[in-house]
């Protein structure tokens, strides 16, 4: 963490210095920044695993918790990815597994395995904004919205949430559930520090805040993320732990066999 604050300061210091020179008058390439942030955020390494704790808080302050291990393997940088999720909590879904094959060029494929029935059920996956396990994170927020789905415009630089950021406004290329998105990219880690989604009337639909960034195995990683849905006064905090990158997770982990029989080298028993 300290390293990052340091590098943030360093980079922003350099920016401040170079901003005075005429060459800096040219705005940063918004699309290139969004692509870089997306790849850093969702494609770090060739594969990754983490133990994830999720706390969903409703408007009355009532909380629900999710605890799962997530595995990811990239097949192409910025392209196809596969995800595997094993649930420990809540108890009624204990040992349930979930698998998604993300296909940026078309529909994803998703499956859930219900151990009490030994049932593998494919889930239809055309709606990317459906809630992931009842949280404020939509499926699309878990694996990231692809930068090529929107057009991007650099707006300004500013300090936000303790990060020195580039601010970028994005508009969906074709009709979507939001009209505009504003992204704050941390200049130090080149990760997304904050995102706000707006509807057509300019009202905030949801807000993503990254509250903790650390370097793990050489990859800057957003360890704590909060998604808030202001309209419903609901928010979800995600904390990533036990992160490992580039373990050489093999492709066959992301198949029905391991959906039914979780791979114990990556998934803890309890």
């Amino acid at each position: 963490m300290r390293k990052f604050i340091l590098s943030t300061l360093l980079v922003s210091g350099l920016d401040a210095a170079t901003a005075l020179t005429p060459a800096r008058a040219q705005a940063p390439d918004a699309e290139a920044l969004m692509k870089e942030a997306h790849l850093n955020m969702y494609y770090a390494g060739d594969d990754g695993s983490a133990r994830v704790k999720m706390v969903i808080t409703d408007k009355n302050g009532k909380t629900r918790e999710r605890d799962f291990t997530i595995l990811r393997k990239d097949f192409a940088e910025g392209g196809e990815q596969r995800y595997y999720v094993y649930f420990y909590e809540p108890n009624d879904v204990r040992r349930t597994t979930f698998m998604a094959w993300k296909n940026p060029d078309g529909d994803d494929s998703r499956w859930i395995y219900v151990p009490s029935l030994d049932l593998v059920k494919p889930l239809s996956a055309n709606d990317k904004k459906s809630s992931f396990v009842g949280s404020d994170f939509a499926y699309e927020d878990v694996s990231g919205r692809h930068w090529s789905d929107d057009t991007h415009k650099f707006v300004r630089e500013e300090e936000k949430g303790g990060f020195q950021t580039w601010v970028i406004e994005s508009v969906p290329r074709s009709g979507d559930y939001f009209a505009k998105k504003v992204t704050w990219i941390d200049q130090g880690s080149r990760l997304v520090a904050r995102e706000e989604y707006f509807d057509g009337k300019g009202e905030v639909l949801k807000v993503l805040e990254v509250t903790k960034i650390e370097t793990v195995d050489g990859h800057a990683t957003a360890l704590e993320r909060r998604m808030t849905t202001p309209r419903k006064q609901n928010n979800t905090m995600i904390v990533f732990g036990s992160i490992d990158y580039d373990q050489g997770i093999s492709a066959d982990i992301f198949t029905e066999r391991y959906l039914k029989s979780p791979p114990r080298q990556y998934v803890a028993g309890q």
């Binding site: 629900r64 529909d107 709606d127």
Partner: protein
């Protein structure tokens, strides 16, 4: 996290003084209370039965409750270096069933890999499911509990466990699954204890003798081709429902009884993404081995069964799906059967989740154009917390003919409420 951690002084509990190790394991499960009421008056027993000396209680008018039970389910998972074991047991206090309180071992199986992880072995009591249908089964001949299904117990109770050895072989172009159950496990069907039913005669059911050749074997070969799964199936065992009839024997002085005739099934399925949803198709040949030419009226004829379905998310947290299903009886002779030559069914599933998926509204409809009967399953589930869940539901049956599947259940129409605490 309501974790029940039991620290056991192994020396004390196991009676061995080997080492003072403390074994730590977790115990999870739930406590559930359920009540369900019959919403119809029960009519007369089937006219075909004449006047049997003793009628099951469902007809006696004393069974307004179809569910009145409390249940504790305990689950434990053990993980060793090269193997794992899973246990699920239900302690059930059932005030409708005649046997009252019982302990039901639902799962007790171990799993390990061999031959460089190519072979996966699962042995013991376990649920097994395969095939593509949504509450319709063609190549899945693993035992099902339709009593639990019809009275509104949790979905997991539709699957009865089977005592089986399950071998999976991976690494070839086709994944191979073989399930062998040494003891035939039939479907659990209404017996008159709580649910009324119809059969052509009032007679007991006999199960196959428990000997080696009366086991069941099921095979699946499957392969993913891109995002499409293709599978082939085989089954060698018995009809899962007692469709055969042994007539009374005057010489041996035995009464007539229903039994489970031999059955082999061969089939295939395909499932994959289509137009943003999931589409599937499955078919099977039911080879009624005891009556291949359809000559006997006491054993079911062979059948062809097929279905196709489609499901997609139509808007956020709303899923809708439909299936069409067909059973075609081979060598059909009118009058031999109650069953139509072509039995058809359509199903419709609607599921809406609300309030961050804490509220689930579900409707599943079976409608048979050929039998002119229907079954509507309605439920509202509410997760008050992660631990506390309420389910209110109804099972509505309709049919003019008391001999059809849903028609015979018309007087079993019920509504139920279940409250569950998970730990």
């Amino acid at each position: 996290m309501k974790k029940v951690i039991l620290t056991i002084g192994a020396a004390v509990l196991l009676g061995t003084a080997a080492r003072p190790a403390a074994a730590q394991f977790e115990l999870h499960g739930f406590i559930e209370a359920g009540g369900g009421l019959r919403l119809q008056d029960v009519g007369a027993p089937p006219a075909e039965w004449g006047s049997p000396s003793v009628l099951p209680p469902a007809w006696s008018g004393g069974q307004d409750y179809l569910m009145r039970e409390a249940r504790v389910q305990l689950k434990s998972d053990l993980y060793g270096a090269g193997a794992e074991a899973h246990f699920v047991a239900d302690v059930l206090a059932d005030q409708v069933a005649s046997d009252g309180t019982s302990i039901v071992l639902r799962e007790a199986w171990t799993m390990f890999n061999a031959f460089g992880k190519h072979l996966e072995v699962r042995a013991g009591r376990q649920p097994t499911t395969w095939g593509t249908g949504d509450l319709l089964f063609i190549n899945d001949l693993f035992p099902k509990d339709y009593v639990s299904f019809f009275i509104g117990r949790d979905d997991q109770y539709l699957k009865g466990p089977s005592d089986a050895v399950r071998l999976g072989w991976f690494g070839l172009p086709l994944a191979i699954d073989l399930v062998y159950s040494p003891i035939f496990a039939p479907n659990i069907l209404p017996t008159g204890e709580r649910l009324v039913f119809w059969t052509p005669a009032y007679a007991p059911v006999t199960e196959p003798e428990q000997k080696a050749e009366n086991g069941e074997a099921a095979l699946r070969l499957s392969r993913d081709i891109g995002r499409v799964n293709l599978a082939f199936y085989g089954y060698w065992g018995f009809w899962k429902n007692p469709y055969g009839f042994s007539p009374p024997d005057t010489v041996l002085a035995t009464g007539g009884s229903f039994y489970y005739p031999q059955l082999n099934v061969y089939g295939a399925s395909v499932r994959g993404g289509l137009f943003g949803g999931v589409a599937w198709a499955e078919g099977g040949w039911y080879d009624s081995a005891e009556d291949r030419d359809g000559a006997s009226s006491l054993v079911p004829n062979s059948e062809v069964r097929a279905m196709a379905g489609y499901e997609r998310q139509w808007w956020s947290d709303f899923t809708g799906g439909a299936q069409v299903y067909w059973e075609g009886v081979q060598d059909y002779r009118a009058g031999e059967y109650v069953k139509e030559e072509n039995h058809t069914m359509v199903t419709l599933r609607l599921l809406q989740m609300l309030r961050y998926q804490t509220v689930k509204l579900s409707a599943f409809t079976f409608y048979s154009p050929s039998d002119e009967d229907a079954y509507l399953r309605l439920s509202v589930g509410y997760d008050y917390t992660d631990e506390l869940n309420l389910t209110l539901g109804a099972n509505l049956f309709q049919g003019e003919d008391e001999r059809t599947l849903f028609g015979m259940n018309e007087d079993n129409t019920n509504a139920y409420l279940r409250v569950r605490y998970s730990f």
